[in-house]
């Protein structure tokens, strides 16, 4: 599967200035691993030492928060959009 990953402004400098990029993978975890392989700096920015997402990072698959799906194990479909956003907005 090839997924379009949308990168928030705060991370673009660590992602070669790109606002979105295509990554292959079967699950959200695999897509993120593919992203980290390409842009190593992103790994420490958005995930903890144990590999889980930092608590102020939200990830959405086709607009749905992955915590309402199967989390990092959620399967992705070809052409789907994966959006990474800061969690500290609103209220």
């Amino acid at each position: 599967m090839t997924v379009v990953v949308k990168i928030p402004t705060q991370l673009r400098a660590a992602a070669g200035g790109e606002s979105e990029t295509e990554v292959d993978g079967a699950t959200v975890q695999e897509v993120l691993d593919g992203l980290f392989d390409r842009f190593e700096e992103l790994r420490t920015r958005i995930s903890d030492e144990d590999g889980s997402l930092r608590r102020f990072v939200n990830v959405y698959l086709a607009g749905e928060d992955i915590r309402f799906l199967d989390g990092l194990a959620t399967p992705v479909t070809d052409g789907a959009e994966l959006t990474i956003l800061p969690a500290v907005a609103g209220g």
Binding site: R45, R55, P86, G90
Partner: protein, 420 residues
């Protein structure tokens, strides 16, 4: 005390005082930091300075994140610029206290703000900072009260505004936003969907989203509730505050206001016990509190308390920590309890609050019933919004007798009519 810089609450990285809200290193929230080095320690002088200030939140300008001080050409005129918020009544509610078996309950009635909710405090600060930073357009993602406030502040200050709300919001809140001539956008989805959309738009537009890229400044406005409560209690801290939780920002910033003044010597004593109030139909923070978790699992809201319907609360972890640290709690109440809470407050204080105030009053009643509150405590109930904005919550809860305009009809048609 002067505003100094922005600082990550997680990793303490420092940033300049710009329209930034997220730490680039760890994605943690940024918060305003102040420089206390010029504080003289003369508490009496500081109190007199505050008391001599305008009758609105700008009397606390030295504790707010504005580079240029209060808006307007002079301190005196500050009270007349824009849409001044704050200095709302703190009312001693003896009849409510008696009903609950408590001795001293105070109601902070923040419905008495220009657009009838506490949001005018945070928007005043955010919009004033936005103007300092050169923004011409303000915007927000809102559950309703913020929509009213941003639209009104845009009108008062002559700034363009964009307001994004869930499309199914209460009609009163939609009407009380559109009237100000804002660009009002109803989004098909929950508040959390609106928030996600606005977070994406924020990166694409040169707008001041008050609760996104201006959030560090916006959130500071809630401290003024704590400042006012303490000043109105004669420069004393209450023992306990009951506060509604949506994102958790108000809850945590009230405590921060008390802490800042205690650190500076303006107040003495312990931080009050902080009790958070949520609706059962959207209670991610109460659920995490009960389960002993440090983070909140997001939920899909289903409650009549739409102003509190944030399923993914940004300040959830900090709200949990605060409630635990102060010996408080985060509790939730059902929609029926919310309606009963609205009626209880109205019938014992004469204050008609919206559903969020029903949540807060119902949680106070729950705490009292559970025996959590010592009868000697001084308790403050923070009422954040106006009942006229959520009329559906009281529709059908009482009966109006319709009669012919004659004395006989009155005596026959109204069973408990007293004959003189």
């Amino acid at each position: 005390m002067a505003v100094s810089h922005l600082e990550c609450k997680e990793c303490k990285a420092e940033y300049p005082l710009e329209a930034l809200y997220v730490c680039e290193k760890c994605f943690g929230p940024l918060e305003v930091a102040y420089d206390h080095s010029r504080w003289t320690g003369d508490v009496g002088e500081a109190r007199r300075r505050i008391q001599g200030g305008p009758q609105n939140i700008w009397r606390y300008a030295e504790f707010l994140p504005l580079a240029g001080g209060p808006p307007g050409p002079s301190g005196r005129l500050a009270s007349r610029v824009g849409l001044p918020a704050g200095c709302t009544p703190l009312i001693r509610a003896d009849r409510l206290a008696a009903r609950l078996g408590l001795r001293e309950v105070w109601v902070k009635n923040d419905a008495a703000n220009p657009t009838h909710s506490f949001k005018d405090r945070v928007v005043s600060v955010a919009v004033t900072r936005a103007r300092e930073l050169g923004f011409e357009t303000i915007a927000c993602a809102s559950t309703g009260n913020l929509a009213n406030s941003v639209a009104a502040h845009g009108a008062a200050l002559g700034m363009d505004s964009y307001v994004f709300i869930p499309a199914d919001l209460e009609e009163q809140k939609v009407l009380a936003t559109g009237v100000y001539g804002t660009k009002l956008v109803g989004v098909k989805g929950t508040y959390d969907d609106v928030n996600r959309l606005c977070t994406e738009l924020c990166a694409e537009r040169e707008w001041a989203f008050v609760n996104i890229n201006l959030r560090p400044y916006y959130a500071e406005g809630s401290k003024t509730l704590a400042f006012e409560i303490a000043e109105q209690l004669g420069w004393e801290l209450p023992d306990r505050c009951v506060v509604p939780i949506a994102s958790g920002s108000l809850f945590t910033k009230i405590a921060r206001g008390f802490s800042e003044w205690t650190e500076l010597g303006l107040l003495e004593g312990e931080l009050p016990r902080m009790n958070g109030a949520q609706a059962e139909g959207c209670s991610p923070v109460a659920t995490a509190f009960a389960a002993g978790h440090e983070v909140c699992r997001p939920v899909k809201p289903e409650t009549i308390a739409k102003s509190l319907a944030i399923g993914n609360p940004a300040d959830g972890p900090y709200a949990l920590d605060l409630a635990r640290r102060t010996g408080g709690s985060v509790d939730s109440v059902s929609d029926d309890e919310i309606r009963a809470g609205i009626a209880l407050l109205a019938q014992t204080t004469g204050i008609f609050t919206e559903t969020a105030g029903g949540v807060t009053t119902a949680v106070l009643a729950k705490l009292a019933e559970r025996g959590d509150i010592d009868p000697d405590e001084r308790v403050v109930l923070v009422i954040t919004g106006e009942g006229l904005k959520t009329l559906d919550a009281v529709r059908g809860t009482f009966e109006t007798r319709t009669i012919e305009p004659t004395v006989e009809a009155f005596q026959a048609g109204v069973p408990d009519a007293v004959t003189v």
